[in-house]
Symmetry: none
Subunit: 202 residues, 4 copies
């Protein structure tokens, strides 16, 4: 019937799946996975709970779909990293690109960080863990000094933390990301030098 569409009830049909994902991510991040009920998601979208089940088989599947859609760049980055030689340059570039990739999936990663206990029991828990271990394997030299190993871990973790721990510091978001990246890169460099020093002095 054309015309200009009546109001907004029926706005954009066919994108309901996407709208569910958007609202779900927002609520999951805000209140946590368990405390967010399907009723709540449905109400915000002005559909019934049953409608959600037309698009997703379970509540968990909504989260899985978000994870898969939003973390693809990160998965690809780790794949790339695992095929590079473990030089300092590789690690530096990995850290730089990881920082960017994280920024693109910030709300989801914040959610994952804040709901670890819950996520661990879900299907994506295992996937996430494997991914982190992939990162670790690329970064960490198992022959390095324990302190330097911690530096690597700290670098990764600093990147993650950067996303939400700096929220209450003021300043431009992109500036903060750069600052976080610099600290992480610095940690990586020092960890790498430490290894060299260890080798030389042996």
């Amino acid at each position: 019937m054309g015309g200009t569409m009546d109001g907004m009830k029926q706005q954009r049909r066919g994108n309901t799946r996407q709208r569910i994902q958007d609202v779900a991510l927002e609520l999951f991040a805000e209140q946590g996975y368990e405390k967010t009920s399907l009723r709540e998601i449905a109400e915000r979208l002005d559909v019934t709970k049953a409608a959600l089940y037309y698009h997703f088989k379970t509540k968990e599947e909504i989260l899985v779909s978000l994870f898969e859609d939003l973390t693809r760049p990160i998965r690809e980055l780790i794949d790339w990293g695992s095929r590079q030689p473990p030089t300092l340059e590789t690690k530096q570039e990995l850290v730089r690109r990881y920082s960017e990739a994280l920024a693109g999936a910030a709300p989801l990663y914040r959610f994952m960080q804040e709901n670890q206990a819950t996520v661990r029991e879900l299907r994506i828990g295992e996937t996430f863990k494997e991914r982190m271990q992939g990162l670790r394997d690329i970064m960490i030299d198992p022959k390095a000094d324990l302190v330097d190993q911690v530096r690597y871990v700290s670098a990764i973790f600093t990147l993650h933390a950067g996303m939400f721990l700096l929220q209450d510091l003021d300043g431009d978001a992109e500036d903060k990301r750069k600052a976080v990246l610099e600290v992480a890169a610095d940690l990586v460099t020092r960890a790498h030098e430490g290894s060299r020093r260890a080798k030389e002095s042996s």
Copy 2:
């Protein structure tokens, strides 16, 4: 020890409150706060749910009591820190003592880290946040370079992360704590030097 004692069913009576806390912490840490039901806690203790309500007014109160009991040293430490001059030495000592204090409340802190989304909505959420801000205020020089501010935050966060992010690295727990501490202390030192450099070059 004397008496007749039938088996072990009512081992140590009168300490039920304490036993509830122990079991609750274990389960909260293992499965998260929401996924741990009072039924489960009661069953493990072989008492009824109603018994829990004799000792604690609500589920949340169990957590609050754990938090208060286990984080007292940390609260005192921060109180102490806030009365010291903001020198490098103060910060170094704070970091050292914080690392020790954390080790004493590790399971609870691990729980807090992994259940942030949940904790945020609870009474202790606010308290915890204030405490972290207290730490931040002691450590961070607001006039410092953004990168150095990140270094301070990263130091604190590295200490937290140390507790559970290194679980799958092998090595003695105390060795790992020391390594983590060294990295954190190093970050603090560099942050402090950075500030001095900044001042000199201005």
Copy 3:
């Protein structure tokens, strides 16, 4: 693209109604009416649930159609029987032909037997009941001894039961049907003789 039929996805179009009936009967018999959902039927046929509604107005209608299609011979048999004189010969022939008719609608009858509670509430419940009463009216002489009345009922019931109660006995299916028929026929004969005896001795 175009022309030659790709595989088997749309094998025989136009007979969807029939395929729905086939799958439905299979699932109804296997899992019961309530536990079989339209989703399940649709999935097996690789069509959508809505497609089922093109062919049948309701779930119940699918069952009704099966009943009507598969039990026509039985209905006709009973009609025939009710027009015959109530002699032993009539009853014997009725039993013989009923046994054959049942074999032709075995899965449906098995379903009816195993889902009586459900069927009773459905439209076919009444029909089925009437039919059974028709059978009874033909067989049973209301003036006969109670024991002989039971024999008639037992004969009918033995025929029904034969279909699935002998499933775990081994032997050829047709042999078993014959054996069941013999027992039923025997019961009918004895019931009839009993009635004669009763009359003679009065």
Copy 4:
């Protein structure tokens, strides 16, 4: 008797479990297991659904408890039978006592008969099947003629059917039970004789 008790809301406390069983059996028998919802049971008892869960872990458990409570005599009877020599006398007595035992659990057995498809998927399905097989093993002589084997099965089945197939015949319930028993006993006798005949003629 004695005391007047205020209304009926709180009548007999402590017997709620029993009242749940009573109402559940009534509704299960009337409408079937699936069509009976816990809401319905709860409403009839004027308690909440959650109260049912205080007494039974699941809906299925309510049925299991009914089965176990009501069919104990039958279980014991079969145990007894399996320890006797397989003479005609044993079988006759078994049939007689089985008929009595069935009468005591009539509503439940009627339910089982009318909800076979459902029951088969439940925990009691297996148990019930085993029990029927036990009965069969006692009764049936595997070396007997197929027709006689059918007679044994028919005898058992006639007993079951007797409970509800004769509902619309009029007459005293106990008279009907006796008549059913006589037919079943007769079938057993003939089956036994058949076997003897077979042996003699060989």
